[in-house]
Amino acid sequence: MTTLPGVRRRRSRLVWRNTVVGWTFILPNFAGFAALTLVPVVVLFYVAFTNWNVFGVADWTGLANFRRMIHDASFRTALQNTVYYTVLHIPLTLAASLGLALLLNRKLRGLGFFRTAAFFPYITSIVALTYVWNLLFSPEYGPINGFLRAIGIAHPPGWTTSADWSMPAVIIVGTWREMGYYMLLYLAGLQTIPAELYEAARVDGANAWQRFRSVTLPGLRPTTFLVAVLLTIGSFKVFDVILLLTNGGPGQSTLVLSQFIYQKGFVENQFGYASAVSIVLFAICFLVTAIQFLVNKRRNA
């Protein structure tokens, strides 16, 4: 292919014009974002290589914080628990929120009520709802174990009071709380699928499952991508639910990375080390998200 000089010049003028236009769109948000988020995040990257304790000076310690992490058994526990949570929480929430959205994307009496109900766990104060879940999970007196005993399970799990069951309990509450939120994104996504596509599929004789497979799912791909990325980041960063439900216990059975960071930073005042752990968490999130981006791009191509 030969490019004439004139074409190239016109091309570069177009690029220039587009860059200016693009930046004018981005700038109002970017100005605030850069000043208030980007700058502190850059500082964080610097702090991670120091022994900063919040006050005064920080000594440059190079990779010491990262070397320390390798030998830190609590860090490993926190990492394992975070992965445990993420691996179960993402598919569960994805399926539950999509199911809810499909169920509620139709003409029904009382639709508004049902949608509000689904969104309720997300808007209810987290302090109140962890109170209730703790009561529900109470091993001896709680209704959940009461029900399990009634259906013949002699030794129901200890939930939040047992090292083996505390993580599943946290995952249940996490999924329950967030599915309404992602349902909302899916509902908006379902609206972007043209009704004509369903009509066409119907004319072709596709049954409900086939229509779901060949029309709904592909049509929802941008939404699913969005939900998956947000879920990934949200799961890796899970904090408040765990803090209020189990506080990382019993023992270290539900200790996750963001709580570990909070402990090292705000309880033990080792902000240098806490920042280094944040960077590892960030790197993991970033890596997984970047893979999702690549997969998404390839599929779209």
């Binding site: 693009g22 769109f25 605030g32 974002f33 309720f120 709802l129 043209p194």
Partner: protein, 297 residues
Amino acid sequence: MDTTLVAPPAGAGELVVPGRRRRRPRNRVWRALGYLAMLVAAAALLLPFYWMVMSSLKTNNEVFTIPIKWVPDSAVWHNYLDIWQKSQMTTWLRNTLILSVAVTALQVLTGSFAAYGFAKVRFPGRDLLFLGYIGTIAVPWQSYMIPQFILMSKMHLSNTLWSIIFLQAFGAFGVFLMKQYYESIPDELLEAARIDGLSEYGIYRRIMLPLSVPAIASLTLLTFVTTWNDYLGPLIYLRSPDLRTIQLGLSTFIAQYNAEYALIMTGSVLSVLPIAVIFLLGQRYFLEGIATTGLKG
């Protein structure tokens, strides 16, 4: 291709519901089953809220009992009067409302604007910049909140409502969400508009905005709820009692009346109600004025 692109929104309540045109008896059974499934799901979802409401109508000692008491012996309505006297609920609600409205307006405006730049204008470095945006979502806030706090304090913003507005309004989340929806709007539509002589800003205002009402409604709701329920942000930035938000107020209220569970639950119910009402009113907009009408062809 239809180039009179600015589609009027479909009439309120007129639903775009695929696959629900023909009625057969078998459908009725499914319908009934669907209702049943939703009722069960709704009951499970609303359970903690139900417990909250019931607890707010109990006396203090009835709230935590073994086993759980699902219905109070007799409803204690005066909790709903007492709370206004014992707390600065009005101040808290006012502050929270100001913050939520300001943050939501800024986030939706700047977020959707930036999203258009990211989704529909091609220029070098765009994808990298966008990845940077998403990247910061992945950094846990508690790890950079101290540098951020020092920064805000140097700008004399801490202990003002502005600090929370700036903190929340320029998040990367809104940009990401809007970009995803803009990408599902076909480029052909924009090309046609460009040929018709519309500028990029014109396209954004006259085509993208009307077409993305459901996405904007989602973003509005989510931003509003996030700001409304934010606890850690106000906790770090606000000191003066006059500036307290509802979550901050509730938590000081809990510290102050730590044994008054019923009253605490009353406060919690009151903190949820405004959002519930907004959601109930706003959710129908998800079904309105949507892309399909403009895309025939």
